[in-house]
Amino acid sequence: MSGPGISAYLILSVILFVTGAVGVLIRRSPLIVLLALEIMLNAGNLALIAFARQHGDGAGQIFALAVMVVAAAEAVVGLGLIVAMSRKKIELDVDTLANLRG
């Protein structure tokens, strides 16, 4: 394979993943949290594709496509929730949504 080896791709994937994770943990607006979530999912996709290339097995790419589908579905539902929240005048701040407190 020309270019950098699989390890490079994997390291890229990890950095991206951690970036997305920190974003999920730090940001307060649910919208940004969703975006950061998307980054994490894509990082996972990158790792999958890299391993698919390494093993020569197309299953990794199939899995990546499935992840993409799930990410899209999740984005739909999440955005729908956010829109519903804003219509009900609920404040879009993750720190104040604590109904599950027990």
Binding site: A21, V24, L25, V94, L97, A98, N99, L100, R101, G102
Partner: protein
């Protein structure tokens, strides 16, 4: 013969079960008849066993028989094992014979009691337990019978459970007997450890081999057995329960606290004499306790005012004689006195029962007097019993008491000392028993008697009268089976199982009857002077020695001493423990555990913040740890 023995044992048990299960479907009288019939069956089969036993040679008369093995651990085996040998058959006859008479008497005595069925069931239970005790072939079964006898005694003492005094008396009897049971059990533990067995054959043959004479173990074992015997037989110092036990109905006092249960201690000593002979000091201690009891009981009986209590103290005193006999090694004559005492003591109690029945429940002799004219036949029965008690020939008591005295003379220095005590005791016995007779039956009718006497045709229902008559006959002739210097049937019969340690010489066998008759006559004469002629010497004496009189009336302060030493400290300890240990530890810990669990849960619940970010952080942290673990494992 073995089958007869088992029938003897289980007939009363069957009666208990039948009466209990039948409940109200049988009449009260039928319950009584079932009980007495079962004991009658026991007596007949015991007699049969005796006949068969006599048909064998003297050395072959030991027949153990096991129904099933209850416990088997290594070499140690214990089970439902009875033994048919001279000693057990002797006791079986006494228990079932006298028991039959008394249970039949009770059918009449208790006929107006509402709970009569329960009474008869308990009586049958008692007879079964006592038979179990005497027929047991191993010490564990003996202990089982021992305990059950104590239970039946408790149940029957507080038969009238709505009377607080009766309930207290039952508890007292049970607790003191439980102490004896405990020492008994401890002795058994030592025996198991040393000899590895509890059945008579093995233990008595192995014990002399593995236990040294007068070693600590031997002394401990014998002391444990003696503790049980003394508690059951109401010897000083474990005697305080017997007078209180008179709260039970009179037939109970007759059967349990005169003829059978209280004699179980003597039976035990005779049965385990091998173990006692390994610790002669304890054997002598038994004799000494018996001697002390003879005197103490005799003195206290002089001032008692309840007719049954006087007889109870006389029982204690007579068992003292038996303990002296057994303690000096004269097992055969001790058992002989057991038999005769069963006859005349039961007779005395039953005659007293006739008196109480005629006076509708009154037991205070100060209110009685002049009953001789109203109840002539009762008076005759009572006279027979009293003469036997005092040891006047040719009634039963003379022969047996006398034999003990003769054997005592042959037993060394201790024996002679006890002989003197016993003779003094005989004087006292005559004194207090004739006091009782004169006060109750002589003189003019007292005011109380004039008001309350109610007499039936035969001075009591027929059911009560014929057993008394039978016992009068037995009292008169019962002693004739062993006449000193001539016929020694009892001694010879019991010899293979309990050989006597003494062989009284001829002069002893002449001296003791002379002495005992002399003191008996002296006692009767003094009693006549003091109470027969209604003098006021007793009152004057009481005035001259007030403290002595009071000590005797308070039963030599034993009850007060025990109260101070045991019952008050233990109740205080119980209360203190309740306050200091139970309330905070047990009750408090329940609340404390709940509180701490709740606090812990509260702290754990704090992690459920409801904030998404917090949960995600937890996830990330967990992930970090997991990856670390994964790499480390790799």
């Amino acid at each position: 013969m073995i089958a007869a023995a088992w029938l003897t044992l289980f007939a009363p048990a069957g009666a208990v079960v039948a009466i209990a299960l039948a409940g109200r479907r049988i009449t009260r009288r039928q319950a009584g008849l079932i009980a007495s019939a079962s004991v009658g069956v026991s007596f007949v089969s015991s007699a049969y066993a005796l006949v068969r036993l006599l048909g064998e040679g003297a050395d072959e008369r030991v027949h153990p028989s096991t129904l099933w093995t209850w416990l088997s651990a290594g070499d140690f085996r214990v089970g439902m094992e009875i033994v048919v040998d001279p000693l057990s058959v002797f006791m079986m006859l006494v228990v079932s014979g006298v028991g039959f008479l008394i249970v039949s008497y009770a059918v009449g005595y208790m006929h107006d009691d509402d709970e009569e069925r329960r009474y008869h069931a308990y009586k049958a239970l008692f007879v079964f337990s006592m038979l179990l005790l005497v027929q047991a072939g191993d010490l564990l079964l003996l202990l089982a019978g021992w305990g059950m006898v104590g239970l039946s005694s408790y149940l029957l003492i507080n038969f009238w459970h709505h009377r607080a005094t009766a309930v207290a008396a039952g508890k007292k009897a049970f607790i003191i007997n439980a102490f004896g049971d405990a020492t008994f059990a401890l002795a058994l533990f030592l025996l198991i450890q040393r000899t590895g067995a509890l059945d008579f054959g093995t233990v008595f043959s192995r014990a002399p081999e593995v236990i040294d004479k007068s070693s600590t173990v031997a002394v401990l074992i014998a002391l444990g057995l003696l503790g049980g015997a003394a508690a059951k037989s109401a010897q000083v110092p474990l005697h305080t329960w017997l007078p209180d036990a008179m709260e039970g109905p009179t037939p109970v006092s007759a059967l349990i606290h005169a003829a059978t249960m209280v004699t179980a201690g003597v039976y035990l000593i005779a049965r385990t004499h091998v173990l006692f002979e390994l610790a002669p000091a304890v054997l002598h201690l038994a004799a000494v306790l018996g001697g002390i009891t003879i005197l103490a009981a005799g003195l206290i009986a002089l001032v008692q005012t309840d007719i049954k209590r006087v007889i109870a103290y006389s029982t204690m005193s007579q068992i003292g004689y038996m303990f002296v006999g057994a303690g000096l090694g004269a097992y055969g004559v001790g058992m002989f006195h057991l038999m005769t005492q069963a006859f005349f003591k039961a007779l005395l109690f039953m005659a007293a029962g006739l008196v109480i029945h005629a006076l509708a429940g009154e037991q205070d002799i100060r209110k009685m007097g002049g009953l001789g004219r109203e109840l002539p036949r009762t008076t005759q029965a009572f006279l027979a019993g009293t003469l036997a008690l005092a040891g006047v020939p040719p009634l039963a008591g003379f022969f047996s008491k006398d034999a003990i005295l003769a054997h005592a003379l042959d037993a060394g220095a201790l024996g002679v000392a006890l002989f003197v005590l016993a003779v003094a005791g005989a004087f006292l016995t005559a004194l207090y028993s004739f006091r009782l007779l004169f006060v109750v039956f002589r003189g003019k009718k007292s005011a109380y008697v004039q008001e309350h006497l109610h007499r039936e045709r035969f001075e009591g229902p027929l059911a009560m009268v014929w057993p008394v008559a039978a016992l009068v006959v037995l009292t008169i002739v019962g002693g004739w089976i062993q006449v000193p210097g001539g016929w020694t049937a009892v001694d010879t019969f019991l010899e293979p199982v309990a050989a006597s340690l003494q062989e009284p010489a001829a002069w002893m066998e002449v001296l003791s009857p002379l002495l005992s008759v002399a003191v008996a006559v002296a006692g009767i004469a003094l009693a006549w002077k003091l109470w027969g002629l209604r003098s006021d010497v007793p009152a004057t004496l009481r005035g001259r020695f007030p403290r002595a009189a009071q000590a005797l009336e308070r039963k030599l302060y034993f009850d007060e001493a025990y109260d101070l030493a045991f019952s008050r400290p233990s109740s205080r300890l119980a209360l203190a423990l309740g306050r200091l240990v139970e309330a905070p530890l047990v009750l408090g810990s329940a609340g404390g555990i709940a509180r701490s669990v709740r606090a812990l849960a509260g702290r754990v619940a704090a992690t459920q913040t409801g904030l998404l970010r917090f949960y995600a952080l937890a996830l990330a942290a967990g992930l970090a740890v997991l990856i670390l673990v994964f790499i480390a494992v790799q």
